[in-house]
Symmetry: C2
């Protein structure tokens, strides 16, 4: 491992200068008239578009285990931030990175950059600014995305009677952290554990689905704190409640086989999957379900006028849910 | 001192929810259709405007002394970031805050917020997003400003023959850190030390001057790393050199009286003053100097075709400068 002194400009240009710069046409993007290397970057949204932005900080030992590989840290840091754009129905265009490092380590930076670049290239987004400082390992990423004026998916628009929907399956990433021993060396783990760890280390932000939902969904949020806690943000913002159907909560088969009867509880309360939860007027469902992106979408409940959250069991009985936790009984 | 558990949403709404929200008219700003409290904030630049953005991270023990008061930390963190907007000629509109704290301390947060709010209110900018995490004390602030399309002041436009100008006087903030014992309790220090510490703890971003320079200056930068190092960024971006006039470098009287013969060296190499350095075609100078904002502006040199930096002494002799340092001999 090669160490060198921290030199912000050197690091940025060496490892991150080309992230998201694929070819001349994207480099000369009219949306980004000025990228990295000046006092500021400049974003110029196309006519009738606005800019969605969100910042997330990941601290070593708090938001990720010290044993995480730099590749996975780079990947996950950007994925987590992009997920906020997905939840607004915004198309990502650029991000900034504030990286605090205990020391400047060339191999570490190269691996971190590889994780970051993989996702940046997938969504064709460009690193437009950054700040590299010396200190305890911390990653702050702010993402910027475009959305047509007044079409962003907010938390506040849910209407009574809307279907509560969720993409994918829930709980795998949470199970990786809370139930299983964390094994950052994915390759040496069993297939089941590997599946769970992959969900934790490489969440897939649901950008395409978010964009598809524009003009249809009345509210959306990405699941970072757990389904109940996050839907509760929608409920409070929209001044509505929600009833969930117990048997419709999507737990993956792998989660069930790894954690058994705990899987529902984990699916309801574990974050880190970064799936989308959204509210959809029933009239749009038939049309949207034709779309390939809706293949993994489940209807898991209905928006109610009665405030608070409830679980409806298969036998028709209901019980009140605490959005901060779920106990199985 | 009251401690409570870290609760991101609680903290943000309690201490920062109102920063920059002065009255209903600014709350409903068409530039900020959505502020804090959703997955993203939304910025909508007016027609023919673009958004300048810059992120800065301040780490405890690296960028500020552990003894700093939370008030000064809040003030300085935002000032440093706003200075990057000043250097682009951008008008600040919004900022995001990623705050990492060892513990949630109500008094600390209230004081930090007071420092932040003072500057936010002065420039009428709004906190539009944030992330509060547990960990070693670190402040990342990203600022967003508006500039008419194609009028941002970049580093790359300096032309041979332009006047090299600087605002204010240099070195006071650097002297506070490097020469004097750091005394965060400003009130108990001598008048001279207080003057220097005030420059360090409460730098004034040169927003109005930056906006005035649009359409006149060919290049600009804020002085965060020292005059020589920062002008060198302009020189390299613009593929030019610079000749400085030794007797024109503005050291404040207070700096001279506190550090004597070291004052020129400090003025050339110390950062942290956050004055503006800019290049101005001579033809614009007479007009601009009528403006009150130009009262403190000094002409300190001239842009040259010969690459590199030089110091011209009063007797007409010249010597080559190392942009990374200046030794007095």
């Amino acid at each position: 491992m090669t160490n060198c002194s921290i030199d912000e400009f050197g690091l940025i240009s060496r490892f991150f200068g080309n992230v998201g710069e694929f070819d001349e046409s994207s480099f000369d993007s009219p949306v980004i008239p000025l990228g990295i290397g000046d006092d500021c970057a400049i974003l110029r949204p196309p006519p009738d578009h606005e800019i969605c932005l969100s910042i997330d900080t990941l601290v070593c030992g708090v938001h990720f285990p010290e044993s995480i590989t730099p590749y996975h840290l780079g990947y996950r840091s950007l994925a987590v931030s992009l997920s906020d754009l997905a939840a607004m129905g915004a198309l990502p265009v650029a991000f900034t990175l504030a990286l605090t490092l205990p020391e400047s380590n060339v191999k570490w930076l190269a691996d971190f950059s590889r994780g970051l670049s993989q996702l940046a290239n997938q969504y064709q987004i460009r690193l437009v600014g950054g700040d590299t400082t010396k200190g305890p390992l911390t990653v702050s990423i702010q993402v910027h995305g475009l959305v047509p004026v007044d079409q962003a998916l907010k938390r506040s628009g849910a209407q009574v009677g809307d279907l509560i929907c969720v993409s994918g399956s829930l709980g795998a990433a949470g199970a990786a952290l809370s139930v299983l021993h964390l094994e950052p060396e994915i390759d040496s783990a069993s297939a089941g554990v590997r599946h769970l760890l992959e969900h934790y280390f490489r969440p897939q932000p649901k950008i395409e689905l978010g964009c598809l939902l524009r003009g249809y969904a009345t509210a959306a949020i990405d699941i970072s704190d757990g389904l109940l806690a996050d839907f509760n943000h929608i409920a409070e913002s929209s001044k509505v409640g929600g009833v969930f159907y117990e048997e419709k909560i999507p737990c993956s088969d792998m989660l069930r086989s790894e954690v058994g009867s705990e899987s529902l509880s984990i699916a309801l309360t574990a974050g880190d999957d970064y799936e989308l939860c959204f509210c959809l007027p029933e009239c749009h469902y038939e049309q949207l379900k034709q779309n390939e992106l809706f293949r993994t979408v489940s209807i898991i409940g209905v928006v109610s006028s009665e405030l608070g959250l409830k679980m409806r069991h298969k036998d028709g009985s209901e019980r009140i849910l605490n959005p901060k936790g779920y106990t199985h009984f």
